[in-house]
Symmetry: C2
Subunit: 462 residues, 2 copies
Amino acid sequence: MASPAVDYARQNQQRFLSELKALLRIPSVSTLEEHKSDVQKAADFVASELRRVGMQHVEVIPTRGHPLVYADWLNASGKPTALCYAHYDVQPPDPLDEWVTPPFEPTERNNNIYARGAVDDKGQLWMEIKAIEALMRGHAGKLPINVKFIIEGEEEVGGESIADYVRKENQKLKADFALVCDTELFAPDLPTLCVGLRGLVYTEIEAQGPKTDLHSGMYGGAAPNPLFALIEIISKLKDEKGRILIPGFYKNVQAPTQDELRAWKKLPFSEEKYRKTEVGSKQLTGEAGYTVLYRTWARPTLEVHGMPGGFTAPGAKTVIPARASAKVSMRLVPNQDPGDILKRYTAFVKKLTPKGIETKIKVWSKGPACVVGTDNQYVRAATQAMHDVFKKDTVFIRSGGSIPIVTDFQDVLRIPSVMMGFGLPDDNLHAPNEKFHIPNFYRGIESICLFFEKLGGKNRPE
Amino acid sequence: MASPAVDYARQNQQRFLSELKALLRIPSVSTLEEHKSDVQKAADFVASELRRVGMQHVEVIPTRGHPLVYADWLNASGKPTALCYAHYDVQPPDPLDEWVTPPFEPTERNNNIYARGAVDDKGQLWMEIKAIEALMRGHAGKLPINVKFIIEGEEEVGGESIADYVRKENQKLKADFALVCDTELFAPDLPTLCVGLRGLVYTEIEAQGPKTDLHSGMYGGAAPNPLFALIEIISKLKDEKGRILIPGFYKNVQAPTQDELRAWKKLPFSEEKYRKTEVGSKQLTGEAGYTVLYRTWARPTLEVHGMPGGFTAPGAKTVIPARASAKVSMRLVPNQDPGDILKRYTAFVKKLTPKGIETKIKVWSKGPACVVGTDNQYVRAATQAMHDVFKKDTVFIRSGGSIPIVTDFQDVLRIPSVMMGFGLPDDNLHAPNEKFHIPNFYRGIESICLFFEKLGGKNRPE
């Protein structure tokens, strides 16, 4: 195939990368109040670039949380309309001392770019914008299809702003499909489309015992300890085999089809290599009788992420804390309703709460799982575009993560999402030394160029 | 009785209190590295005051941790020798936002002085020094008995420096009895001597799972979570009835005598009032079949004080942490050997460690329980001195806390400790709004004056 957009993209790779670095330098950590102005700065940076590459009606939209960025270009009469999604916010960088180079000083090593947000999701957001630039320049200032952008700054914090906006502005956001660039390749050099995501219910159990912190010598044996209570409660939420014990939790779980399971078995995947190179633990855990891919893509889980409270600095303090809490999340699979699960979970936690302790549950976020059909022209064109760039057949996978917006696009806008992601399994997202493999950044730009050219009739399958 | 020392003390109460405030302003938090120089400052402050009141051979002794302060006055030929103990270090003040007035700005309210360390133990340390000043001034520059001081700055951190020093300098520290001012009155206005302490083993279980922090969406269901592993382990260390499940844990537990139990039953104590006013929880916890006093004074316990690791800031981060730890302590009762308990605990934790997780146990401190006989002239004189000040019979109690040095005095120096403390049960030690009731500060000074006068034959029982 010949693509003037791809040609342009290849000639401008170095500049695209150095622009991305400027975005990565902005510490837009959405979960930390002290970074609020950085999050705003990142939104402005993205909006200004959308304007520069030729998008129209660019808006930075204030919300109760962090701003959304909207843009469109709707002059391809009679052609389909894409709704491009990505997020410009990032996870907190801690633990800082495990970063080889600082999280907000993007650094190239071994053909990777290291920075918080490199792959999740600023690098992939930048792919979308740079593909638009390449398409504009390659096609005399016109795009082959109509394009809208809706970009958020609350993905890592489970914010509701984009969902509210999608519901409120469903006419404005109307499109034929969404392009979501926030996933990964199944393996290096293997073109991959993600067609399923797990849902998420993220909670914090807040436990109160004594009215004030007490000395464990004076009061140990009589005063209820909220930290120990949380341990008692959480230990009864999941057994040592990984099975969640909340009554009715598995009732509506929908298993993958036999076809899908057979396709997963053909994927290049070694559980032993995964254990060694990605996880790095002595053994893997999880439910017996399920493969790792099944467990992480299509089985629900329950995890604890942190337990604030008591004394956590180095050293010894003999305190029975007045209050403690536990951040507990559940990943959901298709057909599990987050509201129903939350109700069952809340009731079970109450039931397990030991005497002398009061518990309250705070919900940080909730969204259902999502499975996208593969039988539509958008997924087909994306499949072909990635094949053309990688020169290999595109595989369909799921992801264990959650992109709640994909469900909103499906339920509110009634459009399928093409989840075309270019991360790698070892990119350390949400962890120290997050990276993006630089060739994948470029292949991402080219894949989007070809994808949109194909949909616009500008680039026929070979 | 007539006591020129008590007369002097009464005339100088205001000054004594304002000097104490100066000591309370020094944030000598021994567990926090950033306060190291403050701890040194507090040691120097104490040494300088010991010199000023007339003690001799005053030394600030450097250690591998925080300094010791030694002083003596040995000119009372033929009279007994006291070894006065207290500590000048304090607990961390967090959570800061629960203090009504800042922890290191001593403030008077309702006849109390509020500050971190007010009662534990700077206020009681100051009682000892001010009693010496009063005795010197009241007896023409002479003390009625010989006096040595050994004051430490690592009590709150379980440091070994004083124990090492006691072993190494047992000749220098030779005395007939120790005076330890670090305990409390059983009730307001009730003269009390503490004759038993629980021991303590304070550990941190460090758990390692994945080699790096992982995304709980991508890896949840396959990667072992060290925080969840700690929850599983700790939930199996103690049952919901408060019984510790470590095999052999209770084997050597020595129960109090029937006489002691009968005396405890006569103490003015309401479990309901204790629950409401001191603990403030909906119910109390602990082993069935034991009273609160029995549970907190003479039954071993196991508590969790904090669980560092993962994401603990406000908000949601979907992380499976590489590492997490739990601060777990056990209070021991007479005849339980800390080394034996630690061995059993370590073996059990290893056995409970789930697959995929590695655990290591760090020991922050360990010391046995201690019971002091009441049948000696020192305890008798102290009993009488407190009676004279309070005009009530002195009661014998135990404390659930630990003062490891009392065991060292007993085992190494072969001397009994007179634990004469003037705190109150609601003084919030180790908690926000720690206080010392100001009349008890003065009564403490007077009690020590009379106690030493009696031993020196200067003040006969009425």
